[in-house]
C-alpha cells in the first residue's frame, strides 16, 4: 500500500528533475538554437491547450484562433516598447492580455456561435484574416501597429528586476537567458495544464463536452448552450492572449507575418493530431509539431549532403512537404489522433 502511495510522488519528482535539467542537457548537446526551439514549443503547447478547450472540449471548429494570440502579442508590444514609449511590467500586461483576448473571443462568438460547425470555421477564419489585415494596415493615418514592418525593440520579459534575455548567476552558476525563459514558460504551461484539467473535471467542462456530443440534448439538460459556448471561446481566447504576450516578450519583435492562417492551421493540427479533447495528447501534438519541423530544417541539408553529395531539395521546402504528408497519413491511419482519450480509442477500434 505504501509503495503505491509513494511511487507516484517519486515519479513526479523524477519528471520535475528531468524538466529542470532539460535546458542544460539540450544546450550542451544540441546547442542554444534548440533551447530556443524548446521555448517556442512551450508557447505552442499553451496555445494548443487553449484551442483544445474550444475545439476539443466544446467541439467548436475555430480556424482563426491565432487572432487571439496576435491580440495578446500586439498588446504586449504596444505597452512595453519604444513604439509608444510605454514600458509596463509583464505582470500587468499578461492578465490584461488574457482579458482583452477574452473580450475579443466574446465579441466574435456572440453573433456567430449559433452557426453550424463548418460555417463557424469559415467565419472564424475570416475573423483571423481581418485581424491580420488590420495589423498590416493600421500604420496610417495614425501609426498604431507600424504596419508590415512590425514592432521591434520590445522589452524583454523582466521578473524581479532581471530581464530574462540576460543570463543570471545563481551561486556562481550561470543560467542562460533562454533557460530562464524556459522555466517561466514551463511554469505557465503547467499552470495552464492544471487549469485545463480542472475545467475538464468540472460542471463547466462536462457541459462543454455535452454540447460537443449533442447540442439539443445539452439544452434539454438545462444547459444555456449559448453562454457555455461563449465561455469556451473566451477561455480559449484568453489562453491564446497570454501565450501571445509571452511570444512578444520572448521574441522582442512582432509583425503581422507571425499571425497568418498557416499558424492557426498549425495549432489546430497540434490539437487534432495529438488527440482532440485529451490534454496529454494535445501536449504531445504541440511538442511534436513544434520540434519535428525544426529538426528537418536543421537536419535535412546535412543529411542530403551526406547521402547525395549535394542539397537536392530546399530544407524549408522539404519541411513543409513532410508536414503536409504527415497530416494526411496520421489522419488516414489514426483519425482520432496519435494519443486520443483511452475510451475513445476503444470506440474507434470497435467501429
Amino acid at each position: 500500500m505504501t509503495s503505491l502511495r509513494t511511487k507516484p510522488h517519486l515519479g513526479l519528482a523524477l519528471i520535475a528533475l528531468a524538466l529542470a535539467l532539460l535546458p542544460f542537457v539540450v544546450s550542451a548537446t544540441l546547442g542554444n538554437a534548440w533551447l530556443r526551439i524548446l521555448d517556442f514549443a512551450l508557447i505552442y503547447i499553451m496555445l494548443a491547450l487553449g484551442l483544445n478547450i474550444v475545439v476539443g472540449f466544446a467541439g467548436l471548429l475555430d480556424l482563426g484562433y491565432i487572432a487571439f494570440y496576435a491580440v495578446g502579442a500586439y498588446l504586449y508590444a504596444l505597452l512595453a516598447s519604444p513604439h509608444f514609449g510605454l514600458h509596463w511590467p509583464v505582470w500587468a500586461i499578461l492578465p490584461l492580455g488574457a482579458l482583452v483576448a477574452g473580450v475579443f473571443g466574446v465579441l466574435l462568438g456572440a453573433p456567430t456561435l449559433r452557426l453550424r460547425g463548418d460555417y463557424l470555421a469559415i467565419v472564424t477564419l475570416g475573423f483571423g484574416e481581418i485581424v491580420r489585415i488590420f495589423m498590416n494596415n493600421l500604420n496610417a493615418p495614425i501609426n498604431i501597429t507600424n504596419g508590415p514592418k512590425g514592432i521591434a525593440r520590445i522589452d524583454p520579459i523582466t521578473i524581479a528586476g532581471h530581464p530574462l534575455s540576460k543570463s543570471l548567476d545563481v551561486f556562481g552558476f550561470t543560467v542562460p537567458g533562454l533557460a530562464l525563459y524556459y522555466y517561466l514558460f514551463l511554469v505557465l504551461a503547467i499552470l495552464i495544464i492544471v487549469v485545463g484539467i480542472r475545467l475538464q473535471d468540472s460542471r463547466i467542462g462536462r457541459a462543454w463536452v455535452a454540447i460537443r456530443e449533442d447540442e439539443i440534448a445539452a439544452k434539454a439538460c438545462g444547459i444555456d448552450t449559448r453562454n457555455v459556448k461563449l465561455l469556451a471561446f473566451a477561455m480559449g481566447a484568453s489562453f491564446g492572449g497570454v501565450a501571445g504576450g509571452l511570444f512578444a516578450g520572448f521574441q522582442e519583435f512582432v509583425s503581422p507575418e507571425s499571425f497568418g492562417l498557416m499558424e492557426s492551421v498549425m495549432v489546430l493540427c497540434m490539437v487534432v493530431l495529438g488527440g482532440m479533447g485529451h490534454i496529454p495528447g494535445v501536449i504531445l501534438g504541440g511538442l511534436l509539431l513544434a520540434v519535428l519541423p525544426e529538426a528537418f530544417r536543421h537536419g535535412a541539408a546535412p543529411l542530403q549532403q551526406a547521402l547525395f553529395g549535394k542539397t537536392l531539395i530546399d530544407p524549408e521546402n522539404l519541411r513543409m512537404l513532410l508536414f503536409g504528408l504527415a497530416l494526411i497519413l496520421v489522419m488516414l491511419y489514426k483519425p482520432a489522433g496519435l494519443w486520443p482519450e483511452p475510451r475513445h480509442r476503444a470506440e474507434l477500434k470497435k467501429s
Binding site: 463547466i204 440534448a217 434539454a220 439538460c221 438545462g222 444555456d224 475510451r343 470506440e347
Partner: protein
Amino acid sequence: MTVLLEAHGIGKRFGGVQALKDVSLTIREGEIYGLIGPNGAGKTTFFNVLTGLYPRDEGEITFAGQPLALGSPHRVTRAGIARTFQNIRLFANMTALENVMVGRHARTKVDVGGAVFRTRAQRTEEAAIKRRAEELLHYVGIADRANDMAKNLSYGDQRRLEIARALATEPKLLALDEPAAGMNATETASLRTLIAGLRDDGLTVLLIEHDVKLVMGLCDRVAVLDYGQKIIEDIPATVRADPRVIEAYLGTGAA
C-alpha cells in the same frame, strides 16, 4: 387535484402545414398523462413546442402557476419540465454516470473560478453531483453500467439512462417521448414498472406513446391528437370506447 400544466390554444405551423391547431390540455399534479394519436398527428411537435425546442405560433402555456417562456429549451428545463427523446439522444462518448451528472447542470452553480481554484464549495458540490447521479442510476436500475460509455449500453439501458438524466434535472413534470419504441415485450414490461414507480414517488409524467396498450394500462388520463387537433381528453376507459378515437386510428375510408 391541483393543475400542474395548462396548455391553451397551442398552434404551430410549418410552412403551409398546420401541425398543431388550437390544442388545449390540462395535466394534473401526480398523474400519468398519456398523449396518443396516429402517426403524424402532431404528438412530437406538441412535445417540442412544450419543451421550447420549437417556438409556438399561438397559445399560452402555464406551468406550476407561472407562464412558460417562449423558446430556449434550457429555461423550460430550469422551470421544471424534463424530457427524453423519441430517437434517444445521449452524450455518446461520455460514461453513463457522466451523462447523468450533466443532468445536474441546471441545479448546480459553481462557475469557472470555482472549478479552477477547486474551492471547498466546488468540491462539495461536485461530490453531491456524483452522489446524486449514482443514486439515479441505481433508481433506474443500471448502477452496474455507471462507467460504461453511453453508446455501449443496450437499447433498453439507453432508454433508462435517458430517464435518469432527465430526473437529474429535478423536474416537476417528466415528459417521455415514445419511451417504449423499439423495445421488446420484456423491456416494455419493466419500463412500465419504472414509470409507475415514478408516479408513486410523486412525479407527474407526460407520456407520448405509440403502444396504445401501454398507455391505456398505465395512464390516469389520456388525450388523443389527430391531424394536429385534440379530439378527446378523458380517462382511458372512456377514450377507448370513443368512436372518434376508433375512427382516427382505423380510418373510415369515407373521409
